[in-house]
Amino acid sequence: MNERAQLLLSLADDELIVGWRDSEWTGIAPTLEEDVAFSSIAQNEIGHARALYELAAAELGTDADALAFDRSPDEYRCAPLVELHLMEWAHTVARRYLYEEADRVRIEALKGSDDAELAGLAAKIDREEVYHRMHAELWAARLRDESRFRAATRELWPYALGVVPPELRDELARRVALEVVEARERGEHTPALAELWEEMTEVRRSVPGATW
């Protein structure tokens, strides 16, 4: 697989899996507003994943659904940050905040890419992400002095660094006012991904080619 396809799949897998995790709050978030917010953010992130999978599919001669659902868990290229099953609010907000900051640094770099298709898509995604960042920033500002949130942010920080390539890590650290530490890199998945994959691909595996 060429470098472009690898990059597109890393980006698409991050967005699909973080969107899946966000959607786990649908119906059970602490407030109705957050229920709506997490559901809407999940829908956007999965929409970004679809557009990225479509570019990857054109590169690889397949289709977006096959890339999203027909690979085995070890073929996914997502960062461990998005895989974690975090059904606790401080950790959930810490991940949203760190992921959005990492994604912002990454999208800014992609907007300047020589790859016109990817740069164009990054610019489109960036416009939608403005609203995710507003949401994450409001929560981070509200919880900044809470010990549970600070502990969750420290715990997830090495994972957040693993979302972006090494050359963007100083910039990410500057944005969130933390020190660069050893990153939890992409490549080795957490056990949480296999569990998520079982659930996410169940329909597709049970009824291949199902449409609705």
Partner: protein, 160 residues
Amino acid sequence: MTTDAVWAALADIPDPEIPVISLVDLGVIRDVAVDGRRVRVEFTPTFLGCPALEVMKRAMEAKVAELGGEPEVEVISDDSWSTDRISPEGREKLRAAGFAPPAPRAAGTTTLVQLQSKAFRCPYCGSTETKLENIFGPTPCRSIRWCESCRQPFEQFKTI
């Protein structure tokens, strides 16, 4: 078949989720090119996660086929669509249907400060005494606001 005839036909397609406004009002059709029977439509989507995108694409294909053309709808995935592409007529239709139209995009990047500095008018009573209730709403393109004057919630089109 002329490009004008195709544009006129596409102007009859309602937005699947907000049917008061047409796809042409919404600004999602970037270009139409006719070459014999072949009709190429450039479609620039709104929000990437919007489930209405497929419905819009199929409706455009059906409309072109009705005219006797062979449709080719090309999806443009760049940032060429923004809420500034909604026509003045479209904005008025949104307002009449109870949606506050999006604020214009200022030059440069959308920021929190810029968004909050805009006066959002209640589509029911016209008051600007309104506040943001939730950045997110029932679809990706909408936020929820509250009018302090007539004490009703209303939906605000997000600016992107």
